[in-house]
Symmetry: C2
Subunit: 220 residues, 2 copies
């Protein structure tokens, strides 16, 4: 696994190149913190973008869905996709409307999504989906049986032709606007969790597991 | 403006149809709460998905970017896009790994993105971008001059061929799994803001405006 992601005409950062990176470790950190990927592909009737959960193992990104999903048909021979994961960190208020921005971290990945046929690899992906979202949960749930596995399509996308964009810090107004006198700064944003809501179907008085108590969407 | 969104073979909800909706008011509420859209389109060299800010005015979704952005070239004649906005509301922990899910609200929209040439409409979109993100800010910032407007491409996408998916509430395990004894329930998630960070370039002791103090990413 190389450290650098692949720079192609699709991953070339043409705007705000100071925000761009091809550092695989930075990409991995964003992918590991995120929870929803937006996946785009040609449906045969135009492009569609749909939200999906995902997981990363080394330099592969895994997606999954029901085998019966019409979106996931046609991947048997591999199909090009673009996968984007975006973390929103704040709103950036500048003197000029034009210089307003967002603080964010995003990865855009291009590659052929292929169906994972190998059962061992498919099982590893199932574990990774839960480990990624709720570390500790996989060992504390009923794992998929063969019927459930067969009903699920798992796709693998190589994390290779990809780029990262990160904006952070204060607004950047042009010098001529600095004296305009508006309030400028950043409104920080982050995904937070609140107290877990027990399932009404669950037996009463079951203690909340430590990994649920400790869950932190910021992955800290 | 009709109340129902358009049901086509692209917007047809094939999986978990109980989560689907074509109610324009539900779609609008999701679009108005979200802050980042994921926009997919054919680059001529495969599909790309990129994160963009956006705004809604009535039944139009507006996107914008630098005229110099290579992603935004080729839209002069209109170009089909898919725009997805997803709000993540929670992680759903079930008895079986297979029944784990997320609570979310999402809109997927299909349509031709066209360049907004009319200056009045473009100005309205500029106002909407800020009004949408930070209500109250537009009147408290320097508005775009003609040079900034010319450097910006604004795209309009009709909100017509679109569908909504919403999952909420507790896990739904199959009856045979209910007695397995794992903790089940929901970890609620939401986007939250923290105390605004003043720009170091700003004159000192400038009070934080009311609309920044009152800013709520949940739009409540």
């Amino acid at each position: 696994m190389t450290t650098e992601l692949e720079q192609t005409n699709r991953t070339m950062i043409s705007r705000h190149s100071e925000r761009g990176s091809y550092d695989r470790n930075v990409a991995n950190a964003i992918l590991d913190e995120g929870m929803v990927a937006h996946v785009g592909f040609d449906t045969g009737n135009g492009v569609a973008v749909i939200p999906m959960t995902y997981a990363r193992i080394d330099d592969e990104l895994f997606l999954h869905g029901a085998i019966a999903s019409r979106w996931l048909s046609g991947f048997e021979q591999g199909k090009p996709v673009s996968v984007c994961v975006t973390l929103l960190d704040g709103l950036v208020l500048a003197q000029s409307a034009f210089s307003h921005s967002m603080n964010y971290r995003s990865v855009v990945c291009f590659g052929d999504a292929t169906v994972v046929a190998d059962q061992g690899k498919k099982d590893a992906a199932f574990k990774a989906f839960l480990d990624h979202l709720i570390p500790g949960r996989w060992d504390d749930t009923r794992q998929p049986d063969s019927k459930e596995s067969e009903a699920t399509i798992v796709l693998s996308v190589p994390i290779r032709e990809a780029s990262v964009k990160v904006r952070s810090g204060p607004p950047k107004d042009s010098a001529k606007d600095l004296g305009l006198g508006y309030w400028t700064g950043v409104i920080p944003l982050e995904m937070t969790n609140s107290a877990p809501i027990p399932d009404p179907e669950m037996e009463e008085n079951k203690p909340v597991p430590g990994y649920v108590k400790d869950f932190d969407p910021r992955r800290q």
